[in-house]
Structure formats: structure tokens, C-alpha cells
Symmetry: C2
Subunit: 239 residues, 2 copies
């Protein structure tokens, strides 16, 4: 997924050491377009469509606009995807499922923590990973959930609800009585969603500027939210 600028920045950093497999295959030095192999063309359409969908939504995005963003004409677009809706599912909804799967795998490690302190460390690391993932998928998540009421409900039921239930099942044994394991997972998801909503909507002046500041901010948030979930909000010291 490389839908938004922050994703691109992170990916660019992550991939510094890796060979850039597709680079140079899209345009010749003269600037004229190559005919890409079908699979690469398809991936290119998915990448550019994510940007259009994140900006205009499912209903707002025009097929012409989606084709133009990929540098192709509409008939080529329809060779790859039968409809705008099919393209939306492949570009936006399917990657959501992949991100969610990663998070689910991480959760399995928590059950093996030796004591409360170890568990809190694991939870904090997982929270940070999830926050990073949420920052990346936020524009797509929002489009998937809120572009269209019925589609949103389907995405929630097929992707998010099973994810939350799977985490709840793993968390069950790590919890005492008094809170429903599913509600706790739902609450954690909501906390992260709100943090990322806040980041996405803040004035540019309030945004951390450097990559390091952004990392530090998310790490602080992960620590505070983990403490909140495991210990509760700290009461004031008596004066």
C-alpha cells in the first residue's frame, strides 16, 4: 500500500536498501510510456487509484480520472477491472485485509508473555506497530468504511469485525473478570482510530516535522495508551 504521502515516505525509507524492481520500467528516458506487462500495469493502476479514491471517495472518483491518474485510457482500465467498484475493492478493501492479518499474527505472541511487565512491553510494541499501520491505512480505511453505507457495513463485517473477534479470543486468557474481551479490543481499535483521525485533521503547523519527531510522537502515544489499558489513568497525587 502506498496510498498517502506518509506511506510513501515510510516505504521509501524502508526500501532504501532494496533494489527498486519496477523503476525505469514505466517510462523510457525520453519520457515516452512503455507498454507494461499486465501484472505491473495492474499494480500501477491500483497504486494511482488509491490516491484518487483517498481524495475523491468511491462515488466522487470518475473512471476518466482514475484512468488519467494511471496514464492510460478508459478502455485499458476496463481491460483490468470490470467496474469502478471492482477496482475499489482491489485497491482499497483487499489491502486492508492484509494489514489486518499482520496485526493478527502479532497478537499470537502476546499469549506467551511470562509476566505482567513482559506483557506490557509486548503490548506497547504491538500498539506502536498498529499505530503505524493505522496511519498508513487511515485514508483507505475511511474510504472503505464511509464511501458508501452498504459497502462500509460489508467491509466492517467481513474485515474488521472478524479481526476484532480474533484478537478478543487471544486476549480472553490474559484478562480477569469485569470487562468483555471483545469490547476491550474494540476500545483499543477506537483509541488508535481517534489518534490517527486527529493527526490527519490537525493544522499543518501542529504536525511533527521530521521523521524522527513523528516516530517519537507515535512511540509516546503507544506507551501512554498501553499504560491506560493495563493500569488505568493515573490519579492525581494528594497535595
Amino acid at each position: 500500500m502506498t496510498a498517502d504521502p506518509s506511506t510513501r515516505q515510510r516505504r521509501a525509507q524502508q526500501e532504501q536498501e532494496q533494489p527498486k524492481a519496477h523503476e525505469g520500467q514505466r517510462e523510457t528516458p525520453s519520457g515516452r510510456r512503455h507498454y507494461l506487462p499486465a501484472q505491473l500495469r495492474r499494480e500501477h493502476i491500483l497504486t494511482t487509484s488509491r490516491e484518487v479514491f483517498a481524495r475523491s471517495g468511491l462515488k466522487g472518483a470518475r473512471t476518466r480520472e482514475l484512468a488519467a491518474a494511471a496514464g492510460i485510457n478508459q478502455s485499458t482500465l476496463f481491460e483490468h477491472f470490470r467496474s469502478k467498484e471492482e477496482l475499489f475493492i482491489a485497491a482499497v478493501v483487499e489491502p486492508l485485509g492484509e494489514t489486518i492479518d499482520k496485526s493478527r499474527q502479532r497478537m499470537n505472541g502476546y499469549a506467551e508473555a511470562g509476566n505482567a511487565e513482559d506483557l506490557r512491553g509486548l503490548l506497547q510494541a504491538g500498539m506502536l506497530e498498529n499505530l503505524h499501520g493505522m496511519v498508513e491505512i487511515y485514508p483507505l480505511l475511511v474510504q472503505a468504511l464511509y464511501s458508501d453505507v452498504e459497502l462500509g457495513k460489508a467491509v466492517y463485517r467481513e474485515h474488521l469485525a472478524p479481526f476484532i473477534s480474533a484478537r478478543a479470543e487471544i486476549a480472553q486468557d490474559m484478562l480477569g473478570d469485569g470487562i468483555d474481551a471483545r469490547l476491550l479490543q474494540l476500545a483499543s481499535f477506537g483509541m488508535m482510530f481517534a489518534v490517527v483521525l486527529d493527526r490527519a485533521c490537525r493544522e499543518d503547523a501542529a504536525q511533527p516535522t521530521s521523521q524522527e519527531e513523528q516516530q517519537q510522537e507515535l512511540a509516546d502515544i503507544a506507551r501512554q495508551l498501553t499504560d491506560l489499558i493495563t493500569l488505568g489513568a493515573p490519579p492525581p497525587k494528594p497535595k
Copy 2:
């Protein structure tokens, strides 16, 4: 606000004792439409438009559809609102601000709690009120935040962010070191948002059927989330 069925149900119950001021003024017994006074007409347009916006979104809603829902023609609609966007602000964004103001007023009472137990009781009652409010405004909140990227950012900055900051200021003195007061408020907002998202997307079969069951479910959630925020998730008992 009477945008969604659950709102209508709650309002219907709340207003059972109150005289229904506008009833019968919209249609004569023969079914023919009265000419409403401008203020009543305006309110009627706002009510019916909320349903259209909640269903179709700002971009998806057609002026013709908005006029038809109010039982008027488009020229009458434009006598009251200069544009679809102006109608959206009046119908969806402004009521959000009112709901938020109510919640802010409630928060002032928390500062007067005598001890931790009293505070938890007040927090739980406030959480329940907020959950009810969130269930009501959820369709409008989602439309306001996600109908349009720029509008959503503006709504967040002008309505939600100041609300969260105001609550954080009040909460400041009730908190010890280790968590940012604003992050705590943001996290609480997110928890409630996720609970309401879950309710909105669940299969109908999983929804509580009666009014009493719904009230009971929200009361349980309010208790659990308040305990989570004040005490943390309970660790398992040693075997």
C-alpha cells in the same frame, strides 16, 4: 435531530409527555400540503435532509432528492438555502456543535467530585450520556467528517478538536503524571466511536431488540469503559 431510526425511537419515547407542536401542521386531514410558516418549513427541510444526507452523503445527495424528501420543489428549497453545501452545514454540522456543547457542560460537574468513587460514578453516568449522544449523531458525524476530505478537516478543527481540548482542560486536575489529558479525551472519544461503529454495522440479528435491552447494553458498556479508563483492564486471577 431525528436522522436515524434509533434516534426516532428515543425521541418518540422522550417526547411522549410533551405536546407535539408541529404535528398536523404539515398536512391537512385530506393529505394536501399546507403552506408552512418559513421557520417551520426550514426545520422540516433540515429534518428530511438529514435522512437523505445520512443515506447518500453530501456528494451523493441530489438537490432534487433533497427537495422531494421535504415535499417541495427545488426553487422553494433554494429560497431557504443558497446551496446544497449551506443546507448540509445547517442540517448536519451545526447540530453536531449543539450535542458537543451539552457534553462539555456535563464535564464541568466532574471537577466537583469528592473522591475517586464519586468521580467514577460521575464518569460512568457521563460516559453513558455520551454513548447515547454518539448513537444519535453517528450518521451525521460520519457524514460531516467523511463526506468530503476538506470539509471533514474543517469540521474536526472547528467542532471536535476544541471539544476535546476543553474536556482535557477540565480533566487536567483530575489526572496524575504519565498521560496527556488531551490524549485521554481523544482515546475516550475513539472508544465510544468504535462502539457505535460496531453497533451501526452489526448484522440485524446481533442487535438488541427491545428498548430495554439497548439501554442495558449501553449501560454495561459505559460501566466497563469507565472501569477500563480509571482502573485498567483487570489481570487474570492466578490459578
